[in-house]
């Protein structure tokens, strides 16, 4: 019964998203693009290259979780279709679960693109297959707090304010946390701040 509803929710969410290439193509390609601009330049520098790839992998997953899943909460509150969904019988959690699953699916694709580029362009070599799997798991765990942060932000402010505000929060976090360049390359003052950001911890973990 629950599974029946969940599959119906998933079908609905995926149809809506997949039929909007304007949404998912940039979402999926953006981290890979940034990586090939900035991250892959560090190719062949051993651990630094691996760090860059891991950092952009975190960035890919965080971005999808934070924006596409979290911040859209602000838009949903005003959405008459979502209001109607709430009035249907059945589990109220299933639509959420479906959206989490869809977000994981999209971020996984974005992530795999970064990893594939890392292997192809950056020549990143990780110890073994296990290391790759570990990376994927860790980055997805990192997506969870980011998603929750996005949801919190989306719940607090209006739909119009949510995206600009999200940029204001997320982009500095990404920069300070060294998701775009290794913290060693950041200016000293910025590097000092960097230690305190959650995104830094995520990158290090990855």
């Amino acid at each position: 019964m629950i599974l029946h509803q969940l599959s119906a929710e998933l079908a609905l969410v995926l149809r809506v998203l997949l039929r909007q290439p304007g949404f998912w193509v940039p979402t999926v390609l953006f981290p890979a693009m940034l990586y090939s601009f900035f991250g892959a330049g560090l190719a062949g520098q051993g651990p630094a290259a691996a760090y860059a790839m891991a950092a952009f992998a975190v960035y890919a997953v965080l971005g999808v979780g934070f924006y596409q899943f979290g911040v859209t909460v602000a838009q949903d509150r005003a959405d008459p279709f979502i209001r109607w969904q709430r009035l249907l019988p059945g589990s109220a959690l299933a639509p959420w679960a479906a959206r989490v699953l869809a977000a994981i699916g999209f971020s996984a694709v974005a992530l795999l693109l970064v990893l594939a580029l890392g292997k192809a362009l950056g020549g990143v070599v990780l110890a073994d297959a296990q290391a790759w799997v570990r990376l994927i798991i860790v980055t997805h765990c990192a997506a969870l707090p980011a998603t929750l942060l996005g949801i919190a932000l989306g719940s607090l402010v209006s739909a119009r304010a949510a995206v600009p505000l999200a940029n204001l929060v997320f982009l500095p976090l990404a920069y300070l946390g060294g998701l775009w360049m290794p913290p060693q390359l950041l200016p000293d003052a910025v590097a000092a701040l960097s230690v305190w950001t959650p995104t830094r911890a995520m990158a290090e973990l990855a």
Binding site: M1, R15, V16, Q20, D79, I82, W84, L87, L88, P89
Partner: protein, 295 residues
């Protein structure tokens, strides 16, 4: 209180404030199965807020709502009610078939949808994306989604806005058949003709308060007003005692004692033609009642 759980809807003294504005102020209403209730009122009267509280979208600040004896947010209440989504909100990437399948799955997968597809003429539209739909087509889908699975109670917000005449008639037929089968229906509408065609009772609210309530039959009987329409020979005007106003080639006069007025018109040899006598339309009655501030 116990026997009242049989009511499809029971709202007791519900209120909702938004900041300094009291959108709904101590509204009570009940709706028994097999009845259609029209919720009327000018824009901003509190109809939408009232509907949101009845359906469980908003919690009332005071008072309580029961749907078939259950809290409106409970699974038991949700399983027995159908609501029209606001037409503006459908994701344009989906088709009616996909949305009907989805709503069906939410209702436990047992609700066949052929009947609502037929009733609202959705057959040829089933597999087209909603992005290209006209307002009327979207509205028909919204109605189909509310009636899907024959719930015990449907909430319809402005059900026929944007519908053409044929679709309005089809809707009225479906709605009446639903009510005659024991369904309970609440609708808001600006179209008096439609309220008269579908509803058994009306509740009129203004500034969040109930200003008028009753069965349509009661309201008409209370007024007992009739509208006379007739023509007079060229150059003739009605006598002073007859409160008639000219409407194109016709004269129109309202009266609460149609028998005496007709006797006098005949007795004085008024020479009228083409006389019709009709009960007043609901809109005329309401206009008169609210002018007199009838509670």
């Amino acid at each position: 209180m116990r026997q009242m759980t049989e009511q499809a809807v029971e709202a007791h003294d519900i209120s909702k404030r938004f900041g300094a504005v009291t959108a709904v102020d101590g509204l009570s209403l009940t709706l028994e199965p097999g009845t259609a209730l029209g919720l009327l009122g000018p824009n901003g009267a509190g109809k939408s807020t009232a509907l949101a509280m009845l359906t469980g979208l908003r919690a009332p600040d005071t008072g309580a709502v029961r749907i078939f004896g259950h809290r409106p947010t409970s699974a038991k209440a949700r399983a027995r009610m159908g609501v029209t989504p606001q037409a503006a909100g459908f994701p344009g990437q989906l088709t009616p078939r996909e949305l009907l399948h989805y709503a069906q799955a939410r209702r436990g997968g047992r609700a066949p949808f052929d009947d609502v597809v037929t009733a609202f003429g959705l057959g040829p539209l089933l597999d087209r994306r909603l992005a290209g739909f006209s307002g009327g087509e979207v509205r028909r889908l919204a109605l189909a989604l509310a009636f899907l699975g024959r719930p015990g109670l449907v909430f319809l917000d402005e059900p026929t806005a944007g519908l053409d005449i044929a679709a309005q008639e089809a809707f009225a037929l479906t709605a009446r058949a639903f009510v005659n089968d024991g369904g309970a229906l609440i609708m808001t509408s600006h179209y008096w003709a439609e309220i008269e065609a579908i509803c058994d009772r009306i509740t009129m609210i203004d500034k969040g308060r109930k200003v008028l309530e009753g069965s349509l039959a009661d309201i008409r009987a209370r007024m007992q007003a009739r509208l006379f329409r007739f023509t007079l020979p060229e150059g003739k005007a009605p006598p002073d005692w007859l409160p008639a106003r000219q409407q194109g080639s016709h004269w129109a006069a309202e009266t609460t004692d149609s028998d005496s007025m007709l006797r006098r018109m005949v007795g004085e040899g008024l020479g009228f033609h083409d006389l019709t006598v009709e009960p007043l339309g609901l809109s005329d009655i309401i206009a008169r009642m609210s002018r007199k501030d009838v509670p």
